[in-house]
């Protein structure tokens, strides 16, 4: 019931945000309508960073308290982060092709975000390749803490290294009006609410998987 309410709010917010992004917001002075990609790209990248940060917090909480619920949240948040990260990478490549002439330019932001994505693919692979529940939780949590170092690397890459990537909120390359900024914030909010819904659902899936394992153990069939 609670999840259904969050879903309704997320869908309503997404419809309003999409209308603002594709119809209401004006075209940007130099890039024109192409700039509308930013509303999707920035929202995806933002959720990707938030998801991996939550995954890190859950992994630390697991190592501190040894509750498997935290480990499940860490894994689910990482899977969602990978989905949003893939959208951020693909939308960034489409933007790059239209503005810089090539889908992939080995730009510091592109490269570090790809490293981040591969690092978290490694995390999910580890979680699915170890048989022992305890062992995969501990190894996964330690790996997750190490993999998180790629998040600040990706975020700070445009500040520390020479890059083609524009700084959307503080760049002289893009003229951001108040309505464009409002549209960007609205899209960030809508994407965040949708992410909360997906993470809540993923967390429910995790606890039901745990219930199935408990029932199988009670029946004497071992874990799922």
């Amino acid at each position: 019931m609670k999840r259904d309410i969050i879903l309704c709010i997320a869908v309503a917010a997404s419809v309003v945000a999409s209308y603002a992004a594709f119809v209401w917001a004006p075209s940007e002075a130099t890039t024109g309508d192409l700039y509308r990609i930013v509303y999707v790209h920035v929202a995806s990248a933002w959720i990707c960073y938030v998801a991996f940060s939550l995954s890190l917090i859950a992994s630390i909480a697991f190592l501190a308290k040894r509750k498997h619920a935290y480990d499940r949240i860490a894994e689910m948040a990482a899977i969602l982060g990978l989905a949003y990260g893939a959208v951020a990478l693909i939308s960034g490549s489409i933007w790059a092709e239209a503005t810089w002439g090539a889908y992939w330019n080995w730009d510091p932001r592109e490269t570090t975000t790809l490293i981040l994505w591969i690092a978290y693919m490694g995390y999910v692979s580890i979680k699915h390749s170890i048989g022992s529940i305890e062992k995969k939780a501990v190894i996964g949590a330690v790996y997750n803490i190490l993999a998180f170092s790629t998040v600040p690397l990706s975020y700070l890459s445009i500040l520390l290294l020479p890059t083609l990537h524009p700084q959307v909120l503080s760049s002289s390359e893009v003229a951001l009006t108040t309505s464009m900024l409002a549209t960007l914030m609205l899209n960030l909010l809508a994407a965040s609410i949708f992410f909360v819904y997906l993470l809540t659902t993923a967390s429910t899936v995790g606890s039901l998987e745990n219930r199935v394992n408990t029932l199988l153990y009670e029946k004497g069939e071992g874990g799922a």
């Binding site: 594709f22 990609i37 693909i90 239209a98 029932l215």
Partner: protein, 50 residues
């Protein structure tokens, strides 16, 4: 504008796929729990009757 359309299709397809995957998994697990609980109920009833 074509690039914007492609990006929005990719975004919504990705979200829809995650949404469907999670909800299908949820439905499957609920079904499995109901089956297992019914099985355990029958097993316990059987033990009580012996």
């Amino acid at each position: 504008m074509f690039e914007v359309f492609i990006v929005s299709v990719i975004y919504w397809t990705a979200l829809l796929m995650v949404f469907l995957w999670l909800n299908r998994r949820l439905a499957h697990l609920k079904e499995r729990i109901a089956d297992l609980e019914a099985g355990i109920g029958v097993k316990e009833k059987g033990k009580g009757g012996e």
